[in-house]
């Protein structure tokens, strides 16, 4: 414990260095703007910031992206509450009570509850993140390749099980991602796989190119097809934030705890980020909340539950990233990319080799939440004005940043072509309702999954039962299979209920 605290103190020293603190403040402001701006999502924002980190030192680069990730889970709530326009899917549950509260003339209180929820959820998750990271890394050090494969299999199963309107589409999307990850020269045999005599494909397809294309360019193409819009803003001048009284906060302490716990747990699961946390937490409040009957009428619990969970999911998602090198969400995948670009592979060893970087990242979460809340308290009125900014201008620059981001990574125009191709693919995926997250996580986790599978096969003489018979990998594989089958069981149960009801 003492070691953790002293490492964290060193982390704070790094964060409070003037340059790093400035980068953190810029990251927080950019994250807030991204969450408010039309046509930009949290993941897109973090993707677009990545090229600016190429020439930075590793610590400010990680601080910038982490700060954007944190604040991106918060500011969309403002537009949900004030204008009935959710900045992100995360913020949809805030329409139900946040906007209702604002309609009753209590917008300042609604913004106050949002701010406090983001603060509490973020801080609780940050503490849990710091306490859990080192023990989890210690356990991860004992893992062998079958355990790693089982964890990756669980991650990929949960992405499929969670996403999209069709399980088959999610599976196809995942397989496409896993296949893209095989392009290039095979590590073991040196075989060219799906390179089609294109020299740059021998180096493989960088997952950042896939992310930038599918998330960034694909989304812009979709919005272009639907026509760009701007939101008229009314009554911006009257906006202010009023924090709740201590008595009111104490009366809702269980909602804060439930929301934080939900956010942390969901954040730990690969593929399930802030959006799932937010909806799930609202659902749990509807099941177990003391005032569940009044949910949806504009009560604080309807704001606390989704907002605490959304911000708490950041701390949860960072744990698998730093302890096992497995990104749980789009944003953490980009942060992983920033680590790799700076020659650092997150995983259990990183706590021994580069703990100062990890703890600087942890410290930036704490400081970032405080800075985010301070800006949120004083500057909401000014920041929501960017909502009126023409979406078409934002989108034009999103395209430009996508292209620059791809080009800057290897200074090669072929990467720009790849981004354009994945942009069209991302658009087609959206158009035909194939979820993009499984594709992206397939590309990211594919090489890890393949290498751990193949190494296990070599080590255990091609005995595939090893994944099911080892004490740690066995239960994880079982949970993964159940996770994959859960939507099918759920559907069957619903059908049976409908049949019984119709009889």
């Amino acid at each position: 414990m003492e070691g953790i605290l002293s490492n964290l103190a060193v982390g704070f020293v790094h964060v409070f260095q003037p340059v790093n603190f400035l980068v953190l403040a810029i990251g927080i402001i950019l994250g807030l703007l991204v969450a408010v701006l039309p046509g930009l999502t949290l993941v897109m924002g973090v993707v677009l910031a990545l090229p600016f980190t190429y020439s930075m030192e590793v610590i400010p680069a990680i601080i910038l992206l982490t700060a954007m990730y944190i604040s991106g889970t918060y500011a969309g709530a403002w537009t949900s509450i004030l204008f009935h326009v959710p900045g992100e899917p995360i913020d949809v549950p805030l329409l139900w009570d946040g906007y209702q509260m604002a309609r009753k003339g209590r917008a300042a209180q609604a913004l106050g509850w949002t701010l406090l929820s983001a603060f509490a959820g973020g801080m609780v998750a940050a503490v849990v993140m710091v306490l859990l990271a080192q023990p989890v890394a210690r356990i991860a050090l004992t893992f062998s390749t079958p355990e790693y494969f089982a964890i990756l299999f669980f991650g990929l199963s949960s992405v499929v099980s969670l996403g999209g309107s069709s399980l088959t589409n999610a599976l196809i999307s995942l397989f496409a991602g896993l296949l893209i990850a095989t392009v290039g020269v095979d590590d073991t045999y040196g075989t060219h796989r799906f390179t089609f005599n294109v020299p740059i494909l021998s180096d493989g397809i960088d997952y950042l190119v896939v992310m930038v294309g599918a998330y960034g360019l694909g989304e812009v193409f979709l919005r272009l097809e639907q026509g760009f819009k701007s939101v008229p803003l009314d009554a911006v001048g009257k906006i202010r934030t009023r924090l709740p009284r201590l008595r009111e906060v104490l009366a809702t302490k269980m909602t804060f705890l439930r929301g934080s716990a939900t956010g942390i747990i969901v954040g730990l699961v690969p593929g399930a980020g802030a959006t799932v946390s937010s909806f799930l937490s609202y659902g749990i409040e509807g099941q177990y909340g003391r005032r569940r009957q009044k949910l949806g009428t504009g009560i604080p619990e309807g704001i606390i539950a989704p907002q605490t969970a959304a911000t708490a999911s950041v701390g949860g998602a960072i744990i698998p990233l730093v302890t096992m090198g497995i990104p749980g969400s789009g944003a953490t995948a980009i942060i992983l990319g920033a680590f790799l670009l700076h020659g650092l592979q997150p995983g259990p060893q990183v706590f021994q080799t580069s703990s100062h970087i990890i703890y600087a990242m942890f410290a930036s979460v704490f400081v970032g939440i405080v800075v985010m809340c301070a800006i949120g308290y004083f500057a909401t009125k000014y920041m929501v004005k960017v909502l009126a900014f023409p979406e078409v201008i934002v989108s034009a620059y999103v395209v430009m940043m996508c292209i620059l981001g791809a080009f800057a990574a290897r200074n090669n125009i072929t990467d720009v072509w790849l981004v354009a191709i994945f942009g069209v693919l991302g658009y087609l995926f959206e158009r035909f309702k194939f979820p993009i997250t499984p594709l992206v996580l397939g590309v990211i986790l594919g090489p890890l999954a393949e290498s751990s599978f193949m190494t296990s096969m070599i080590s255990y003489s091609n005995d595939w039962t090893v994944f099911f018979t080892r004490p740690i990998s066995g239960p994880i594989m079982l949970i993964a299979i159940l996770t994959l089958l859960y939507p099918v069981f759920r559907r069957m149960r619903q059908r049976m209920k409908q049949r019984i009801a119709s009889q």
Partner: protein, 191 residues
């Protein structure tokens, strides 16, 4: 569900399945020296492609056999969202009915491809200024002064940030356009 509707719904899966079949053929012809008792580099992609073909085949057969009655097993998130949103139907986000402008999309995609083709010849500054302005016009924006200012100033800013601060060597173009980039680089103190 009419025959045409079934065909339209099954078509994407048939295309993906056929593409997976072709890639399986490619994977089965990978050149490598097999080692006894060890899986080859073709095993992993072949396994993925087999699963892809199976998933596509399942969807095609399901649509062909059941048509509109073919239900979907949705992801858990979708159900959570639908359940929650269903309870709050009166407070859904403000949104106009979704419009569709396929021509805008095609022109936008075409402009992006043209940009990628043109940037090595025209250089970053000329190609980007033109592209940004064109994209805003395609997107329906008609405030010409803003378009000119935003595309010009934005491109200069990007040029400065990436070439001077982030040290990315952006395309400078070919003669005679090269001279424009070199002039700007000189003005900005970029070497």
């Amino acid at each position: 569900m009419s025959r045409d509707a079934r065909f339209t719904r099954a078509l994407p899966y048939a295309i993906v399945g056929a593409a997976a079949g072709y890639l399986y053929f490619v994977a089965s012809n990978f050149q490598f020296h097999a080692r006894a008792g060890t899986l080859g580099p073709d095993f992993w992609p072949e396994a993925i492609l087999t699963l892809t073909i199976a998933a596509c085949g399942y969807e095609v057969v399901k649509i062909a056999a059941f048509g509109a009655r073919a239900g979907e097993v949705g992801g858990v998130l979708e159900e959570i969202v639908e359940e929650s949103a269903g309870k709050h139907a009166d407070t859904r986000p403000i949104s106009a009915p979704v419009e569709s402008h396929p021509w805008l999309l095609l022109v936008g995609m075409g402009a992006t491809i043209l940009y990628v083709l043109a940037v090595p010849r025209l250089g970053f500054f000329l190609a980007t200024t033109t592209y940004l302005a064109a994209f805003m016009v395609i997107g329906g924006y008609r405030r010409w002064g803003v378009i000119a200012a935003v595309s010009l100033i934005g491109t200069l800013l990007l040029l400065f940030i990436f070439m001077k601060l982030v040290y990315v060597s952006l395309p400078i173009g070919q003669e005679p356009f090269l001279q424009v980039t070199l002039f700007l680089m000189q003005v900005m103190g970029i070497r």
